[in-house]
């Protein structure tokens, strides 16, 4: 019996079919994690221990790296990213053979300040050649694409990407080895946030990476999420404080579908496209993003209670991209 299936609590009961000696006869039945978009009590999400990472922690997990002051005053900020394969559970009972940076999907949310010198040591411990391609302004030799600079890093290989953090804003990093769709959709991506030199107003900051998975490899995503696990924040709401400024770093890394969207209930937000300006361009409750697009969103909740957020590409919502804020005093 496959691990996980029997431990999942839900209203669905798995049909467990028989072995060859008695095909289509009973062995036993197990409880399964049948999900739907309702609010029935007792529903659950994937146990974070199974994956080794917890979407409830990833949402506020910003990795500033290790730092040292360089001659001249600049900050040198360093990270190590290791690519390796890992099986993860994307919706209760369903596993996905992911390719990861540092064992998690999305990879670490790398955070720095405009003008910092960044040094990212990459180790490929995976089963296929990989790279790291950073969005931002830098020289071609550290662009993480095949045939230029370090190029594609073979299995067992290493490379150090070094560049200055610019411009400020919300950026992506991801593998750029071919076939690109495969390397991204299997999980090799993360957020890369460059803070403006003067900073942003203090806020409760949240990272939301919209992603999706095609576990049966039919070029059609079956599972959608924010931060990997379908419906996670529906069953484990994100707690925020009433009237406190909330800042959402929203990215769309979904492959196979051209657009995605974010909608919030009972509220509106200010939108800062790509986070590259400190002036918002829009006050709205829904934002549409193409592949690779990012926005910084700022809002305050005036009332306590539970407020849903989800893709307004509603089939994505019904397939896992749905969550809840719980606003408290």
């Amino acid at each position: 019996m496959l691990a996980g299936a029997a431990s999942i609590v839900g209203s669905g009961v798995a049909a467990k079919l028989a072995a060859a000696s008695s095909r289509n006869t009973v062995h036993d039945s197990v409880m399964a994690g049948s999900m739907h978009t309702g609010f029935a009590e007792g529903r659950t999400t994937v146990d974070p221990k199974v994956n080794g990472f917890d979407p409830s922690k990833i949402v506020r997990d910003f990795d500033w790296g290790t730092t040292q002051r360089l001659a001249g005053g600049r900050v040198l900020r360093q990270w190590e990213l290791v690519a390796y394969d890992r099986e993860i559970e994307i919706v209760p009972g369903v596993k996905f053979h992911a390719w990861t940076y540092n064992g998690r999907v999305p990879g670490p949310t790398m955070r720095c300040r405009e003008g910092d010198v960044l040094r990212i040591h990459f180790v490929n411990a995976g089963s296929h050649p990989h790279t790291i391609h950073f969005h931002g302004i830098h020289r071609d030799i550290v662009d993480g694409v095949p045939g230029i600079g370090g190029g594609v890093i073979d299995v067992g290989g290493e490379f150090t990407y070094s560049f200055v953090a610019e411009p400020f804003g919300l950026h992506l990093y991801h593998c750029h080895a071919s076939p690109l769709v495969e390397h991204i959709s299997k999980g090799l991506y993360g957020a890369f946030i460059v803070d403006p030199k003067q900073g942003r107003p203090p806020a409760d900051e949240l990272l939301m990476m919209q992603n999706a998975f095609d576990p049966n490899f039919n070029d059609d995503n079956e599972v959608y999420a924010v931060n990997t696990v379908a419906f996670h924040y529906l069953y484990k709401p994100i707690e925020v404080q009433r009237d406190r400024l909330v800042r959402i770093y929203l990215l769309n890394i979904v492959e196979l579908d051209p657009i995605n969207s974010f909608h919030i209930h009972g509220n509106f937000f200010h939108r800062f496209p790509t986070g590259t300006s400190l002036q918002p361009t829009e006050y709205t409750d829904t934002v549409v993003q193409g592949q690779g697009q990012r926005d910084v969103l700022e809002l305050r909740f005036p009332y306590t209670g539970k407020y849903m957020f989800h893709a307004h590409k509603t089939e994505f919502a019904s397939l896992g991209w749905m969550g809840m804020f719980e606003v408290v005093e």
């Binding site: 079919l17 019904s318 397939l319």
Partner: protein, 126 residues
């Protein structure tokens, strides 16, 4: 998810399954299973039967080992399901289906492979 595949409709003309019995009937077409393994269709949906508010699927395991069903999707939405019989060869989905409409059903196994089934024309005739 992309929109429905046109070839499914063509395939539906070749394989129509009529059901009788205690349920209302419908016409359905079993189609390829997605697979994260070698592509072999190890779990298939043999037929579907409709009763008011419910879709009952009859499953067949072609593999040597038991295959749990971890999740069920109907028309791009996760849905609840439960076993009808103790053996787990029939699976019931509570779903407010509408006569004359079509439904794509995917059953996901723990490996991510799927058993897929198309109800072309939900029908209340027997």
């Amino acid at each position: 998810m992309s929109s429905r595949r046109p070839w499914l409709l063509a395939a539906a003309l070749l394989a129509v399954v009529l059901l009788t019995g205690g349920f209302l009937s419908m016409r359905g077409v079993p189609w390829r299973s997605g697979s994260s393994g070698g592509g072999r269709e190890e779990l298939t949906v043999e037929r579907a039967a409709l009763s008011p508010g419910q879709i009952v699927l009859t499953l067949k395991n072609h593999a040597d080992d038991a295959i749990p069903v971890a999740q069920a999707i109907v028309n791009d939405a996760f849905v609840d399901f439960h076993a009808v019989d103790a053996g787990g060869t029939q699976l019931a989905i509570d779903y407010p289906w509408i006569e004359g409409e079509s439904y794509e059903i995917e059953l996901l196994t723990p490996t991510g492979a799927s058993a897929d089934f198309e109800i072309e024309d939900a029908d209340a005739s027997s």
